[in-house]
C-alpha cells in the first residue's frame, strides 16, 4: 500500500539577518501509511509544524522531496488538496465572521454544498453556535471549528497540528474520540502533538522527530520498545511491604499509584516474584514495564525538549 505522505531528505533553512541561519528540518525522512491515526511527535522546535507547512506548500523546502497522496508537492498540490483537510498550528479563521460564514467561504472554493457546512458543524458539536461570531468562541470551540473546516472536504487525509491545544479535559476527550472515529472510517489522520499521552491513546503508528530529523518511527509498541523499558510492574496488597521486600532482595522499586515499578529486567522477573512470596506477598500483577510514550520520547530526543518553539 502506497504511503499517503512520503518525505525524503526534507531540509528547511531559515536565513536570518546578521545571524547564522536556522536549520528547521535537517534531512527528514518519513512515511505515513494509509488509514488510521498517525502520531507525529517531537519537542518544541523539532520541526513538526515546518514539516506540515512544507508538505502543504506554505513554506518552500530548501532541499528534499515530499509526496502527498502519491503526488509530488508542492508542484502537484492543487490536484490533491481537495482530498486533504488540515489545521496548521492554531485554526486560522476570521474572528468577526460567524462560524458558519467562515465555513461557507471555504466551502465555496471547492463548490461544497451548504448542507455539508451544517453537517461539519454538527459533527464537531457546534451546530447551535454556528451563527455566533468566532471572536466569542472559546479556544476549544475555535479548535473544533478548525476541525469542522478540515472535515468539509470529506478528506481522505487529515493533517492536524496540535488539535488538542487549548482544550479543556472534556474537549480533549471529545477530540480524541473524534480523531479515533475518523481513523476508524478509513481516513488517514496525521496528528502532530506534544501531548504524548493523548497520541498514545489514539495513534496506531507514531514518528518522533528531534532537531529536524526522524529519531524513531513505527507502531506505538515498537517505538516504546526502542525507548527505555527495563523494569517490571508489580501490584501487591501492601505496596510499602512489597517495596521493602524487593529492597532486601537488592531490587530498587518505587511506588507509582497502585503499583510498584521495580528496576529489574523483565527476564529476571522471577527474582522479584520469589522475594515477594518469601514475605507472603503474592502479586496480582507482574508484567514488563513498557513505560509510556513520554518516557520513550524523552529517551529518544535527549535534551531537545528544552528547545523552544
Amino acid at each position: 500500500m502506497a504511503p499517503v505522505i512520503e518525505i525524503e531528505g526534507l531540509r528547511k533553512t531559515y536565513r536570518r539577518f546578521r545571524k547564522p541561519p536556522t536549520v528547521a528540518l535537517d534531512g527528514l525522512d518519513l512515511e505515513v501509511p494509509e488509514g488510521g491515526v498517525f502520531g507525529f511527535l517531537g519537542p518544541n522546535g523539532a520541526g513538526k509544524t515546518t514539516t506540515i507547512r512544507c508538505i502543504l506548500g506554505l513554506v518552500a523546502a530548501s532541499a528534499g522531496r515530499a509526496t502527498l497522496l502519491g503526488t509530488d508537492v508542492p508542484g502537484g498540490l492543487s490536484g490533491v488538496v481537495p482530498r486533504v483537510g488540515s489545521i496548521v498550528e492554531a485554526p486560522a479563521l476570521f474572528p468577526r465572521f460567524t462560524g458558519r460564514r467562515n465555513l461557507e467561504i471555504l466551502a465555496r472554493i471547492d463548490g461544497i454544498a451548504r448542507e455539508a457546512v451544517d453537517a461539519a458543524l454538527d459533527r464537531v458539536g457546534l451546530e447551535a453556535r454556528g451563527g455566533d461570531i468566532v471572536r466569542t468562541y472559546s479556544l476549544g470551540m475555535k479548535q473544533r471549528l478548525g476541525i469542522a473546516a478540515a472535515l468539509l472536504k470529506d478528506p481522505s487525509l487529515l493533517i492536524l497540528d496540535e488539535p488538542a491545544n487549548g482544550l479543556d479535559p472534556a474537549g480533549i476527550v471529545e477530540v480524541r474520540d473524534l480523531l479515533r472515529s475518523l481513523g476508524a472510517e478509513g481516513r488517514t489522520v496525521f496528528v502532530s502533538s506534544h501531548i504524548l499521552s493523548e497520541v498514545q491513546q489514539i495513534a496506531d503508528r507514531v514518528a518522533i522527530v528531534a532537531r529536524g530529523r526522524l529519531v524513531a518511527a513505527g507502531s506505538v509498541h515498537e517505538v516504546l520498545a526502542s525507548g527505555r523499558a527495563s523494569g517490571v510492574v508489580v501490584r501487591v496488597a501492601d505496596l510499602e511491604a512489597g517495596r521493602l521486600a524487593l529492597a532486601d532482595a537488592g531490587i530498587t522499586a518505587r511506588i507509582d499509584g497502585d503499583v510498584l515499578r521495580a528496576a529489574v529486567p523483565p527476564a529476571e522477573a522471577d527474582r522479584a516474584a520469589r522475594a515477594l512470596a518469601q514475605r507472603d506477598l503474592y502479586p496480582s500483577l507482574l508484567q514488563p514495564d513498557e513505560g509510556n510514550l513520554e518516557q520513550a520520547f524523552l529517551e529518544l530526543t535527549g535534551d531537545d525538549h528544552e528547545v523552544g518553539a
Binding site: R53, L56, G57, L58, V59, A60, P74, L77, S78, V81, V84, S86, V88, E89, A90, P91, A92, L93, F94, P95, R96, F97, R101, E104, I105, L106, R108, I109, D110, G111, A149
Partner: protein, 304 residues
Amino acid sequence: MRRLLASELLRFRSRRLVVVLLGGALGGSAVGAVIAAWQSTPPTEQVLAAARAQAEEEFRLCMNADFGSEGFEGSVEDFCRENAGNPTNYMPSHLALAELPPILEGISSLTSILGLVVGASVVAASWQTGTISTIFTWEPRRLRWFGARMAVIGSGVFAITVMIVAFLSAALAVAAALRGSTELADGWWRDVTTTSLRIAVIAAVAALIGGAVAAVGRHTSAALGVVFVYAAVLEGLLRAFRPLWSPWLLGDNIVSFVAWQTTEFGVVSGSYILSPGRAAFVIAGYTMVALALGATFVRIRDVH
C-alpha cells in the same frame, strides 16, 4: 476560478469594514445634501429671469472681446457660454443641480481614500488573522488566489463608489429641487455619468494599489502608511527636486484623469500639460507595477 471568485466575493461582502464604510459614506452623503439644502437660497422666478438676462448680456460682451489665440483651447462661444454666459453666476448662492459634475469631482479624493483603505484592509487581514494559511490549504495556486482577490476588490470598490455617487447625486437632486435650481445644461447627463465612472475607476485603482502594497507588507497600517508617504511626501519632493519627472507622478495624472481635460501644471522650471488619455496610461502603469510587485511577493514568500 468562478468558485474562487464566489468565495472571495462572499468574504468581501461579509467584511464589517466594507459595510461600515459604505454606510458611513451614504450617511455622510445624506447629511451633506441636507446641509446644502439648508444653506441654499432658492431663487425666485424673478431672480432667475434677471440672472438669465444678465448672462445673455455678459455672453454678448464676452463674444465681442478679443482673447487672442495663444494658449486658448476650444471655441470662444463654448468658453463664453460656460463662464460669462452662465446664469448661475448672477444668482444668490444656491444649490444648482447643473453644478453636480464638479461637486462629484470634489469627492473623488474621499472615495479614493475609501478604496485605498478597503483594498489594503481586505488583503492584509488575511495575513493579520493568519487565515492566509487556511486559504492556501484550499487554493494552493497563489497567483490564482491573488488574481481573484484583486478582481473582487477592484470590482467591489468600483460598485461601492458608483452606489455612493448615485446616492449623493440623488440626494443633491432632491435638495436642489426643494431649495435650489434644477435647470440643466445640454450634455449634463453625459457629464454626470462619465464623471461618476471616472471617480469609480480611480477608487478601484486606489483599492488595487492598496491591496497590492498590503500583499507586500502584510499589514493594513503599513500599506496605508507607505501609500500616504508616497503621495504626500515623496511626490512633493520629486516635484520640487526633479521637476522633469512631474508629468509621470501619480497625483497630477489622477487630477487630469478625473477632470478629463487637458490640464496645465506649474513646476519650478515652468509648466507641463497632461492630457486625460496620457493620464489614464500612466495610472494604468502604476497599477500594473503595484500588482506585479504584490503578486511576486505573494508567490515567493513563505507563509507562517
